[in-house]
């Protein structure tokens, strides 16, 4: 097994046909297994695009992405879904929970897409809510929760299929200071439990806690720093 759970090689992403926007220009990074990495840089310079390509949400225009040693750049749509289900947990800035489902059902929804993870989903979802300290909110609807609580539910959902990698796109960007602190505490605990975390952020405070930092500017990797 490779020491690097995520590897990209000359990753390029171009949007549009007539008016072409170069979002990424030849990015090559390596993320060690079990590390806590941050991707930083100004808005609109390609951080989220990089995260989406790593997360198999989108396909690169050229270059290569490997997740856990498997090149996902040329996988079919269905295979990419499997990678997302097994290997990756996503946490978005705006939570992206399904409003008409309860908190528990939101977590169970992620479980139902995993081939070998369909048993006891209710019990396991409750367990994950315990990890993020929301056991008492299992039957609440997202509209009944605060921003911090919503993000903790989103984290629990990302952990639904016990993926080795968690990708987080500014998960605290929409939270107040207190909630940010609370959510970060849970993220750090999850990292300590062995998960690889790739975290897009604007916050210097969070970036300071990273073991590895990638700075993206104009779609290029400007620098990477080890702790």
């Amino acid at each position: 097994m490779s020491d690097f759970v995520i590897e990209t090689e000359n990753l390029e992403k171009v949007y549009g046909n007539k008016e072409r926007t170069h979002a990424l220009r030849g990015i090559s990074i390596k993320v060690p297994r079990g590390s806590f990495c941050c991707i930083v840089g100004p808005s609109g310079h390609g951080k989220s695009t990089l995260l989406q390509l790593i997360g198999a949400l989108d396909k690169p225009t050229s270059g290569r992405v490997s997740i856990d040693g498997v090149d996902i750049s040329s996988l079919s749509d269905n295979k990419l879904s499997e990678v997302r289900s097994k290997k990756i947990g996503f946490v978005f800035q705006f939570f992206n929970l399904l409003e008409n489902l309860t908190v528990k059902e939101n977590i169970q929804t992620a479980m139902m897409f995993s081939k070998d993870n369909k048993k006891d989903t209710g019990k396991r979802a409750l367990g994950l809510l315990g990890v993020v300290g929301l056991s008492d909110k299992a039957n609440s609807k997202p509209s009944e929760l605060s921003g911090g609580q919503l993000q903790r539910v989103a984290i629990a959902r990302a952990l639904a299929n016990d993926p080795p990698i968690l990708l987080m796109d500014e998960p605290t960007g929409n939270l107040d200071t207190e909630s940010e602190k609370d959510v970060m505490e849970h993220i750090i605990n999850i990292h300590k439990a062995g998960k690889t975390i790739v975290f897009v952020t604007h916050s210097n405070e969070i970036a300071d806690r990273a073991e590895l930092l990638f700075e993206i500017r104009d779609g290029k990797l400007k620098a990477d720093y080890a702790e």
């Binding site: 989406q52 997360g55 949400l57 989108d58 749509d77 269905n78 879904s81 499997e82 997302r84 289900s85 097994k86 996503f90 978005f92 992206n96 929970l97 399904l98 008409n100 489902l101 059902e105 169970q108 929804t109 992620a110 479980m111 139902m112 897409f113 995993s114 989903t121 959902r157 639904a160 299929n161």
Partner: protein
């Protein structure tokens, strides 16, 4: 949590739209159920009447059309157009076992229209195999009394000895027939000569029901009858097909109307599901992001359409059932299809009909959902999330 539960939750999320889409397919299926079964019941009712007529050959006046055929089968009023003297001559043809004249007249009891039939009592009793419940059947062909069907007796609360008035003359009820299950139950019978005299008619009858001993040679008998008089002669099967031909076109019309309602309902589903895709782009993206394959999205949307079909079929069946019963009295106003007014011919509950309706409804809904489901499943996770 599974795709079925997810589809169900999505479906009822927008209650107004859910109700109106469901209403569309419910109305479509209800009209399908009501119109189709009315058509089919009409057909089976006419076939039953033809069976009950118990005649191999019908001799009518020269005016020969499906409306007349229909009136013969239903035992309704017909013009007197066959000379009575023909009856005995037909009965005298070798191989003819009976020639029974019917003079069907319009009359009323307590201001309610009924059919009064002038008959040759002994021939008719033997031909129809009547049993007498109460009273004494006509003892002569000149008896000034009436015999009534069991349905007439119960509907107007009549009993033997009571009097009915026709054309200002009183006629005591001599007997009440046992229930036959045919139109005889809802008719009043009077000796032929007395009926002609009462209604001021010449010596004519409406039609003659003929039975033969050898149905295979029916054409020979028809020719023999036509030699006797210049009349219209048909077999019971010809009579039935003539009526069914008209009913067939009526059925097609009814089915087309039901079809239009179903097509409208199908477009309602397509519209609802396409709108749902635009509203739920973000949700589709989330499902894809957490590992949902395009097939799962397709399945959720198809399930949702199918559920509309299932529920619409279920409610449509129930509504169609109620509507066909409520509409029966209105349909009675049309003479040709008046038989539909009989509550017994409204939609009859049957598991087979229910399953047919549910199957058709789900099939239409699933077909309607194919395109929206395909569109939804083609959305990439980023396309869906980005476009919110």
């Amino acid at each position: 949590m599974n795709t079925f539960k997810l589809a169900l939750k999505n479906m009822v999320r927008r209650r107004g739209r859910f109700v109106f889409t469901l209403l569309g397919i419910t109305i479509g299926m209800a009209s399908f159920v009501a119109l189709l079964s009315m058509g089919n019941n009409l057909r089976s009712e006419v076939t039953r009447q033809a069976d009950e007529l118990g005649a191999d050959i019908i001799v009518m006046g020269r005016v020969d059309c499906p409306f007349i055929h229909r009136a013969v089968l239903a035992g309704e009023q017909l013009p007197e157009s066959v000379p009575r003297e023909v009856v005995a001559r037909i009965a005298g043809i070798d191989g003819i076992t009976a020639a029974v004249p019917y003079l069907t007249l319009g009359a009323s009891i307590q201001q309610t229209p009924i059919t009064l039939i002038g008959i040759l009592p002994d021939e008719m009793k033997a031909h129809r195999g009547w049993g007498v419940g109460n009273g004494t059947f006509f003892e002569s062909e000149l008896e000034r009394s009436v015999v009534i069907g069991s349905g007439i007796a119960s509907r107007f609360e009549l009993s033997v000895g009571m009097k009915l008035t026709f054309r200002g003359l009183d006629f005591p009820i001599a007997a009440i027939l046992n229930e036959t299950g045919s139109n005889d139950d809802i008719s009043v019978f009077m000796p032929l000569s007395i009926a002609q005299e009462t209604f001021g008619l010449d010596d004519y009858v409406s039609f003659i029901a003929v039975t033969v001993d050898d149905v295979i040679n029916i054409e020979r008998y028809i020719a023999a009858i036509m030699d006797i008089a210049n009349l219209s002669v048909s077999t019971d099967e010809e009579l039935l097909s003539s009526v069914l031909l008209i009913l067939g076109s009526l059925n097609i019309t009814l089915q087309l109307i039901a079809g239009v309602a179903l097509v409208a309902a199908a477009f309602g589903i397509i519209n609802t599901m396409l709108t749902a895709i635009y509203e739920r782009r973000r949700e589709i993206g989330i499902l894809r992001a957490v590992g949902g394959k395009s097939g799962v999205i397709f399945r959720i949307f198809i399930l949702e359409s199918g559920l509309y079909g299932f529920l619409g079929g279920l409610f449509g069946f129930a509504v169609g059932f109620v509507v066909s019963r409520a509409a029966a009295p209105l349909i009675q106003q049309n003479e040709f299809v008046s038989v539909l007014g009989n509550p017994d011919t409204a939609v009859v509950f049957s598991a087979a009909l229910l399953f047919t309706v549910l199957g058709l409804s789900v099939l239409i809904a699933v077909i309607s959902g194919l395109y929206p489901a395909w569109r939804a499943s083609r959305l990439t996770p980023m396309e869906a999330i980005r476009n919110v």
